[in-house]
């Protein structure tokens, strides 16, 4: 069996050139068909990618609009709350002033009466 191992080179050389495969007639046409199919797949892929990107952009912009609306509403609410607080504190201040003035008037009246 050692002979088999030593004859590897000869064996391989005997395989070489012992056959010559020929491509079929439709070989070249099949290549062009595959190239065109690859191209159209590539174009479909590009179109799909563009559509996907547009959808993502639309989604992102709608999310941005929703968030900014929410922020605006919160801002408006906080502004109106502040106004309410301001009005309330102004009212209470003026009431307080009125009370103080009333008290002052009474004191003046009382002192006049005692005189």
């Amino acid at each position: 069996m050692k002979r088999n191992i030593e004859n590897i080179d000869q064996k391989l050389e005997s395989i070489r050139g012992s056959y010559e495969l020929q491509c079929g007639d439709s070989f070249t046409d099949k290549i062009f068909e595959k190239i065109d199919a690859h191209k159209s797949n590539g174009n479909n892929y590009k179109t799909g990618l563009v559509v996907l990107l547009v959808l993502v952009a639309l989604n992102l912009s709608s999310i941005y609009i929703i968030l900014s609306n929410k922020k605006n509403n919160e801002l408006k609410r906080s502004n109106s709350l502040q106004t309410m607080i301001d009005v309330y504190s102004l009212n209470s201040y003026s009431n307080n002033m009125k009370l103080q003035f009333k008290g002052f008037n009474t004191e003046v009246k009382n002192s006049r009466q005692s005189e």
């Binding site: 088999n4 395989i15 070489r16 495969l21 020929q22 491509c23 062009f32 190239i35």
Partner: protein
């Protein structure tokens, strides 16, 4: 084969008629090289078509400082090795599936495919064993041995195709032969 200067320019412009001429010129050479790697005519034809599609798509990467033939060989070898890697992965998957009693019908059909004259020639037991053992060598050793012994290319040509030095190719060939002898002695001695 020498580069035809206007061919390359036209190919780079995507000229279909020139590409058709180019395919006609190289198709049998590429088919036979693929067959020397994959050892199945149908697979060799499929891989050859993939080679030409790759050439059509990446011709702009070709630099005129090398021979177009060498570049074609480089793409062919790389496509063949890719194909064999995928085929081996598929085989492993089938083996795993068979452990669980699941049959892969695609693989069954492939194994029943009719033999071509070239395949019948290989039905000689010894040749079959040698070729099957070459298939088990590491990719670079397998490529070097196939190109040298079956394609009859010189060390310099193989070095250009594999993009390595001539010394590296010589050492690849020596290791490939040593490995092959080891594998064959195990089979023949048992």
């Amino acid at each position: 084969m020498k580069n035809k200067p206007d061919w390359i320019t036209k190919l780079k412009l995507g000229d279909r008629d020139t590409f058709r001429e180019f395919v006609e010129e190289y198709k049998n050479k590429v088919l036979n090289t693929c067959y020397n790697f994959v050892r199945n005519v149908h697979d060799a034809e499929d891989v050859s078509q993939e080679v030409f599609i790759e050439i059509f798509n990446s011709i702009h990467k070709f630099k005129n400082n090398s021979q177009i033939g060498t570049w074609v060989y480089r793409i062919t070898v790389s496509k063949c090795l890719d194909f064999l890697r995928k085929k081996n992965q598929k085989k492993r998957k089938v083996q795993i599936l068979s452990i669980f009693g699941i049959k892969d019908f695609e693989h069954e059909i492939e194994s029943q495919a009719p033999q071509t004259p070239a395949e019948i020639l290989e039905s000689d037991d010894q040749t079959q064993i040698i070729l099957s053992q070459i298939g088990k060598l590491p990719d670079n050793q397998r490529a070097a041995l196939t190109l040298n012994k079956l394609e009859n290319l010189s060390i310099r040509e193989i070095a250009e195709i594999l993009q390595t030095s001539e010394t590296a190719v010589e050492s690849l060939l020596q290791r490939a032969k040593a490995n092959l002898k080891k594998k064959l002695s195990k089979i023949f001695d048992s």
